[in-house]
Amino acid sequence: MREAATPWERLRQMLITVGPGALWLGLFVLIPTLIMLVASLMSRGSLGQLVPPFGLHNYLRFFSDPLFLEIIGRSLWIGLWSTVFIMLLGYPLAFYIAQSRHKEVLLLLVVIPFFTNFLIRVYAWIVIFQKEGLLNGLITAFGLPPAELLPSTLAVYVATVYTYLPFFVLPLYAAVERIDWSQLEAAYDLGARPIRAFWEAIFPQTVPGLFEGFLLVFIPAVGTFVIADLLGGGKVTLIGNLIQLQFGSAQNWAFGSAASMVLMAMVLLGLWLYARTQGEKGLDKLV
């Protein structure tokens, strides 16, 4: 007979399994975040490096300058509306796929753009929106003067919707697949007409999937800098662009760190609200 594992043996097993991963997360996720926090409290040296004195001046500057508040507002605004458009496009699509006889094929059609390189997806819209692009080709074919479509807010919206649409459809599809359709029949049976029955019996079942999809789309849409950088070039500045700028040409790492902390705080706040409504299980589903 083998002896039951001793506490010492159990500790050894735990260290072997959890140890390396936990150490890695500590070194490369926790510590960098703490460094970022400290950096956000420091000042910009003459060469852009981080120097004392410590203080809240970066945050004060951020929240007192209407320019930066406007950037935050714009990020949230564009993120929110992109998400709304994505939902309008993606919600019916998920239902169409779920009830189709060829759902595997249709799902693959959603997954292909999902796995296509992010930059290529953004790049495609440059090709469409640029001065000699597809859209202007169409416009001039009708004898109209070519439009200045790039850089523009419209282009940023379109590309954001395009880029993150699959992120929304996939979790929502999973929710639609799990729908208990007998509830729809129950609603009919109890006298609800089709639209009412859908609203009362089916829609509530998709709400967790909606929340999940919303977060998967909204967070990266608010945090992105590539889309605004390539398609909004200079015209549309989001918080992601601001951060990139501070670590790039503006050479103000301290201020950039503060802006990052603000972005991170917004995300964590959103997640906290989500976890409160959906529980931790909800967080698991995000992956």
Partner: protein, 380 residues
Amino acid sequence: MEPTLFRGRRERKLGQNLAVRLEGITKRFGDQKAVDNVSLDIRDGEFFSLLGPSGCGKTTLLRMIAGFDTPDEGRVIIGGKDMTEVPPYLRPVNTVFQNYALFPHMTVEQNIAFGLRMKKMPRDEIARRVQWALELINLPGYEKRRTDQMSGGQRQRIALARALVNEPEVLLLDEPLSALDLKLRQELRVDLMNLQERLGITFIFVTHDQEEALVMSDRIAVMNKGRIEQLGPTEEIYELPKTAFVAKFIGDSNLIPAQALEPRKVRTALGEFVLDEEDALTPGQEVLLSIRPEKIRLFRDKPNLPNVFRARIDDIIYTGSENQYVLLADGQRLMCETLNQDIQEPGHEEFTYDEEVWVALTPEKLVVIEGGVEGSNPYA
């Protein structure tokens, strides 16, 4: 004359009106006929069961009465009106679903109130009726509970209340007890029977559990492969099966192939048997004799009875309340059940393995099934 039906041993008087009439209903899924030309009448206030193995079409039939499916041929008439094409939300019927289909995002109260809300009933009236329904199912005080926190039996009762609160003309029950454990099932059978009697609502009950159907129904329609094999009062279904399928599916039956010698005399592998006076066969006709295990009598000494032959006890299955004997006679196996009572009188004796016994088949208990051996396996 008013139709008189038996349920249990109690006499029940039913209304004259038809609650539901099905006329030549056929439903195809692909090239498979799920329901094949079924016609039947269900009377007002009746407890009617559709009984059959899975895939026999009973649920499809129920769904067409509810309005979830439309028949390819035939008509569904509810309360005297043709409702074949009427959507479910306009039919005066309600359903208790197999998985209950309770709305998980609503409380008990909201679930029960749903149908009344759809009818735009005033609030206080809804509240009053919900209270009534909760008392009906014995769950007062559970208004604000979430349904996913409740046990299977409670959920089942809420589903029942949610349907009944709308005062449907007909209540459809799709295997409502199948997800519960045996003890609870037995309790709820009685509850359901009493409830039905009290409210006087027509119940159409779908089940694959023959005991459930026998306990609760006024009449049973036994279905197989989309058709009705036999339709009749409960006792008739059990005592006088018309087909080998019914004999095998409802309870256990010994089926003995036989050939008629005279109108009331047949030859079998076990010897020549005389039949009941009501039977009248044409000589040479091939039939099946069916006899229930509990109706076979065993004796140690040769009794002075008709239809007696020798057999050997091949196996004994002790179930507590009963002894089941597996008999072997001329290569034919017969099942015999005797109650495990302590009296040791002829016909109620206890036997041991390999004992040679006398078997007596009482003529009145031998049911003749015409149409030969075909289909003797209900699961084929």
